[in-house]
């Protein structure tokens, strides 16, 4: 599933970045969105976009359009 399909409090393991856009891909990687990493969706902004995730021990916000490009495997709450 994709990152934007998570609800607050849910998380998953990053599988891959779908984006064809090399620049976006690179920026996401630089920010710690790498394969095998666990992330948690922390919050959705009051107007529905962007979202906030926790990854690599820090908080990152990104728009849903970018979140759609991140494929993840959902994890059980206990595993987070």
């Amino acid at each position: 599933m994709k990152l934007n399909e998570l609800s607050p409090g849910e998380g998953g393991t990053i599988i891959r970045i779908i984006a064809g856009d090399q620049k976006l891909k690179r920026r996401l990687r630089d920010m710690g969105i790498v394969k095998g990493e666990t992330l948690v969706l922390e919050k959705v902004a009051p107007l529905g976009d962007p979202i906030e995730i926790r990854v690599k021990g820090y908080k990152l916000s990104l728009r849903k359009r970018e979140a759609e490009q991140i494929e993840i495997e959902k994890l059980n709450k206990e595993a987070l």
């Binding site: 630089d30 710690g32 009051p46 962007p50 908080k59 916000s61 990104l62």
Partner: protein, 713 residues
């Protein structure tokens, strides 16, 4: 004397500036990096007879050249002669910070690691084996608490010894297979190549476009291995890992970081619910997030303008009323034109610049508070969706709202935006926010033509300005600042209590920069305008350069409904000194003169001086008092009955007066705003802004007048 050049590199919000401040005893200087609007901070100090220059590189997450900040940092590190890099790291966020470190180590420049925020790190129960860490990267690691000046002396010693010894750090190893490929490529790079070889090999593998661009510029392409060789190595790698190189290298780097972190870091067993999470559950709350932001913004707006108001009045009175008056008296024997040039032109110009200093101080105080506490990032998060439609950023909302008080600080408030494109668009739209100085104009015209429903008409002008900003924003996004909007990838840093030292340093540095850089251009323009209005000296308004010009060009404004009134056209020019000057200029042009101030009270220089000092303390008291009131005085209007009202009643119709108000609303805000735009963005954007604030008001007021006439007004 020998001079060491030390570059401070690190992620945003890790305390680089605070560290430089502590090291140098707060002797920071700010400017811009050449050619861009990214802030450049530097400081110099002397230690044991060695001169040390500390350069604060922009905060970055990576050396990949996808943002201006990354390019600046990379160019500086590779192309300047640097004696050492101080890599400042937020110890509480080791993993992501070390990702940049792994790239810095590849540059083969002597490096010192400053593990900042060490107190927080220990409080959270983390442990770190510093010795092991130092061995792994062959560089000194110093723990610091920049805000409290802890570890600063040790860091200074490490800087000196590291730059003297010039020992290169170890790089972070990637996996075997990649290291082999790097070795293979290094073999093809000539022995005397100017750039670090491992780094070059990696850039070649990554097909880094910016790297090739720079190589071409330096005529080094010929020295690089042949394209086929690189392609071959890359393809083998991609095949082996089943990943493209753009994915592979960052993942490998994080892998390298992980293995170091695993070796040296011990995490606490239990993760506490941190203060940041508690605060975010309030500030980012789906119901409360926006109302809380609007409330905070209102308070910033209120305190900035109410708090600085009394000081602005005092400064204005001090320069124009006191210095100006007494200079006039001293010069009473010289020709009147010279006195006018000195008093109205020169002293008036200086006064204009200085009267903004209190406003800058207050604005920068609150901006620094929002920035340093970490709240500004939340603003972007909360407001982003609303602003991105017109090519703006969530953070654009703050400068826009400040613009309703005054456009000048609003331009400076765009500093909070990292996205260059969004920052420029925001600055170009700010002049359409109706600032406080435009109110006297509305007050005058609405008092004549819209006695009933005055407030409604004024409100409609505010809305008109916003609507124009939205439309112009859309056009700019589609036509000028084309291309894909930058992605919104933003860290939400932990909330931190800002230190007064940091806030003070930010206020002081930036206000000084305003006075020097913007002040110069404002001052020159002021003298130019003085000449327009006063030459030939003593002539009636219609015979001055301004009057003659206005009478010539007035017909251009026919479609807007005030082409037959050269006085209205002429008044626009003094209006660029400060918008409210339009009212006085109209009075003069219509010969309705303000009643001569005539009865100036006779007082001695001594009495005047004491009055000024008293006045200053009154201003402090008034400022404190106004901070306690919750009502903004900036939206209050007052009009005195005057002969001018009658003249205007005869000259304008309700429709042409509305058209004129629209024009003054959208027209060049004032030369101080222009000075600010020049300081922040340079000539290009300044020219574009002048174009936009000339063309747009003309089109808008023409439309208003034509549509109004068609509808039978």
């Amino acid at each position: 004397m020998k001079e060491l050049i030390i570059a401070f590199a690190g992620n945003p919000n890790v305390g680089k500036t605070a560290l430089i401040n502590s090291l140098s005893g707060a002797k920071l200087k700010i400017g811009n990096w050449p050619g861009v609007t990214v802030e450049k901070k530097e400081a110099e100090l002397t230690y044991n007879g060695v001169k040390i220059k500390l350069v604060d590189l922009p905060g970055i997450y990576s050396l990949s050249p996808y943002t201006i900040e990354e390019k600046i940092a990379r160019d500086f590190l590779l192309e300047e002669k640097i004696d050492a890099i101080i890599n400042v790291i937020d110890a509480t966020n080791l993993e992501r910070n070390l990702y940049l470190t792994s790239q810095l180590l590849d540059l083969e420049i002597p490096t010192v690691i400053a593990l900042n925020m060490w107190d927080e790190f220990e409080d959270k129960g983390y442990r770190l084996d510093i010795e092991k860490f130092e061995q792994a990267i062959n560089a000194k690691v110093i723990t610091t608490v920049a805000t409290k000046g802890k570890g600063v002396n040790k860091l200074l010693k490490a800087i000196i010894s590291t730059s003297e010894k010039q020992n290169k750090p170890n790089f972070l190893k990637l996996s075997q297979k990649i290291e082999e490929s790097i070795e293979e490529l290094i073999n093809y790079i000539p022995e005397d190549f100017q750039l670090p070889k491992r780094w070059t090999a990696l850039k070649l593998l990554e097909k880094d476009e910016y790297f090739y661009e720079r190589m071409e510029k330096k005529d080094l392409l010929g020295k690089l291995p042949r394209e086929e060789i690189i392609d071959d190595v890359r393809k083998r790698l991609e095949k082996y890992f089943g990943e493209d190189i753009g994915t592979l290298i960052p993942e490998e780097r994080y892998g390298g970081v992980n293995s170091i972190v695993k070796n040296v870091l011990r995490r606490p067993v239990e993760r506490k619910r941190e203060l940041t999470e508690i605060l975010d559950s309030i500030f980012l709350n789906r119901m409360l997030g926006i109302p809380i932001f609007l409330l905070l913004l209102y308070l910033v707006f209120l305190f900035t303008f109410n708090g600085s108001g009394p000081f602005i009045d005092w400064t204005d009175g001090f320069i124009n009323g006191y210095i100006g008056k007494w200079t006039g008296i001293i010069l009473s024997k010289s020709p009147p034109w010279l006195t006018s040039l000195i008093v109205d032109g020169i002293i008036g110009g200086v006064g204009l610049v200085l009267s903004f200093v209190p406003l800058m101080f207050f604005l920068y105080f609150f901006l620094a508070l929002l920035e340093e506490s970490g709240y500004m990032a939340r603003v972007a998060f909360v407001m982003d969706k609303l602003m991105k439609g017109i090519g703006l950023h969530g953070k654009s909302f703050v400068p826009m709202v400040i613009g309703f008080g005054c456009n000048v600080p609003a331009i400076y408030a765009t500093r909070a935006l990292e996205d260059e494109k969004a920052r420029k668009i925001t600055a170009l739209l700010i002049p359409y926010m109706s600032c406080g100085a435009r109110l006297p104009i509305y007050a005058l015209f609405t008092a004549v033509f819209f006695r009933h429903g005055q407030a409604g008409v004024v409100l409609s002008l505010y809305v008109f300005g916003i609507a124009v900003a939205v439309i112009v924003g859309l056009i700019l996004k589609k036509a000028v600042f084309k291309g894909k909007a930058e992605e919104f990838l933003m860290e939400l840093p932990p909330y931190r209590v800002p230190t007064l030292k940091m806030i003070w340093s930010s206020m002081w540095l930036r206000t000084r920069a305003f006075v020097i850089k913007a002040g110069t251009i404002i001052f020159i323009t002021m003298i130019f305008l003085w000449a327009l209005i006063n030459i030939p000296y003593g002539a009636p308004p219609e015979k001055t350069i301004l009057g003659v010009t206005a009478r010539t060009i007035a017909p251009i404004f026919k479609p807007a409904g005030f082409g037959d009134k050269w006085q209205a056209v002429a008044a626009l020019i003094p209006g660029t000194i400060a918008k409210e000057a339009v009212v006085g200029a109209l009075g003069q042009a219509y010969g309705a003169g303000e009643e001569e101030e005539g009865k100036e009270e006779k007082s001695s220089f001594w009495e005047d001086s004491i009055d000024q000092i008293k006045g200053f303390f009154v201003a402090i008291w008034e400022s404190l008092k106004s901070l306690a009131t919750w009502k903004s005085s900036i939206f209050e209007m007052e009009v005195e009955e005057s002969p001018l009202l009658k003249k205007i009643k005869n000259a304008f119709t309700p429709l042409s007066s509305y058209s004129y108000m629209v024009f003054t609303l959208l027209w060049i805000p004032c030369i101080v705003t222009l000075g600010a735009i020049y300081q922040e963005f340079g000539w290009g954007i300044l020219g574009f802004s002048i174009l936009l604030t000339t063309l747009v008001p003309y089109i808008a007021s023409t439309l208003v007048f034509s549509i109004g006439k068609f509808l039978g007004f």
